[in-house]
């Protein structure tokens, strides 16, 4: 399963959820969806995508929030799994596990392909965890995985891509925030 294929399935099933993309997904997602509820967290603080998404989910409890996070990014903030478990929200954390730091050219992460993200999430206290290694299984189950209640962790093992460059967000951060706030009917922060 490639990242593009995995995210295409997600795009088909996201409904009216907010989608927070980080790192490599920032370069793919706008080709699949580019609505005001799609937020490219770039420039970012690596590892803070799930935290930002949790904040959004707590602030907007009537909406589902999907955070797309790489395996390397999640390792930088593993404690967020405990926080996500302890502050239940409609948060759906999608881990794209390619075993690589893709945007820096494809160097392996520590523990590449030997980390059981499902067990890590369950050990943190997140009850609903899913794991897919092939496209067909992910396609068949994506709708169920994205149904409430959250929090949910969806661990997707995907092919790594070498030679990738750091992607660019589709628009400036200011423009992204403005259109997100318009969509959520929020005034200036």
């Amino acid at each position: 399963m490639t990242a593009e294929q995995a995210l295409a399935v997600l795009a088909q099933h996201r409904g009216n959820a907010m989608v927070i993309t980080t790192m490599g997904a920032v370069g793919i997602w706008p080709r699949l969806s580019d609505t005001p509820l799609d937020f490219a967290y770039m420039p970012s603080a690596m590892g803070e995508g799930p935290a930002l998404a949790l904040g959004l989910a707590l602030a907007q409890p009537q909406r589902r929030v999907i955070a797309i996070c790489g395996d390397g990014s999640l390792l930088m903030n593993l404690g967020c799994l405990v926080t996500i478990a302890n502050y239940p929200a409609e948060l759906y954390l999608v881990i794209l596990d390619n075993g690589l730091y893709e945007v820096t050219g494809g160097q392996p992460i520590v523990g590449s392909r030997r980390i059981h993200f499902g067990l890590l999430a369950q050990g943190a206290g997140i009850r609903r965890t899913y794991h897919f290694t092939d496209l067909q299984s992910w396609e068949q189950s994506a709708g169920l995985c994205l149904e409430p209640p959250g929090p949910v962790v969806i661990w997707l093992e995907i092919e790594g891509r070498l030679g990738q460059k750091t992607p660019s967000p589709p628009r400036s951060m200011r423009d992204q925030i403005e259109r997100l706030h318009r969509a959520l009917a929020i005034g200036n922060v």
Partner: protein
């Protein structure tokens, strides 16, 4: 000494909705007041950078969080702070305990934390103020009110 009850009541009256923190021995005295206020949600995090990330999401979603931590955690959370203040331009309000600052001023400590806190704040180019040891909750609430009016990030540093 800042009363936790007066501080929480004052901040909530200004619209504060969430308090994210990892406490230190001084800030931790506010725990009971933070937990007991019916209109404030206390969020405990695993690491200080995470508090800043969650606060960013809350602000993007229309809420008004406060983040509190010790200077040690602030050192560790630098990239998250940089990102939220200078990339996302969100009006983060941070309450920062400076460990051993009073002893440092009197040259009674070898702790390097107080030596580096102010230079690091200056390096991040964020407005900040070191409160006096006699500061009250009303002083802190006033700083929050002014920062929100300006729509800017601000660090209120408490000498410990």
């Amino acid at each position: 000494m800042i009363s936790g009850q007066e501080l929480v009541t004052g901040l909530v009256s200004q619209g504060v909705t969430h308090w994210l923190w990892i406490p230190d021995s001084e800030l931790g005295r506010w725990e009971t007041d933070l937990v007991s206020h019916p209109r404030l949600q206390l969020i405990r995090v695993s690491r200080e950078a995470e508090a800043i990330g969650i606060a960013a999401g809350l602000m993007l979603g229309g809420k008004k969080p406060i983040v509190a931590m010790q200077c040690t955690g602030f050192f560790d959370a630098g990239d998250a702070f940089r990102n939220v203040v200078h990339d996302l331009h969100l009006p983060l309000f941070l309450i920062l305990g400076i460990r051993n600052y009073l002893a440092y001023q009197e040259r009674r400590t070898t702790d390097s934390c107080p030596r580096f806190t102010i230079p690091v704040l200056e390096a991040w180019r964020v407005p900040f103020q070191i409160l006096s040891p006699e500061a009250t909750a009303a002083d802190l609430v006033q700083l929050y009110r002014e920062a929100q009016r300006r729509g800017e990030a601000f660090v209120a540093a408490l000498p410990e």
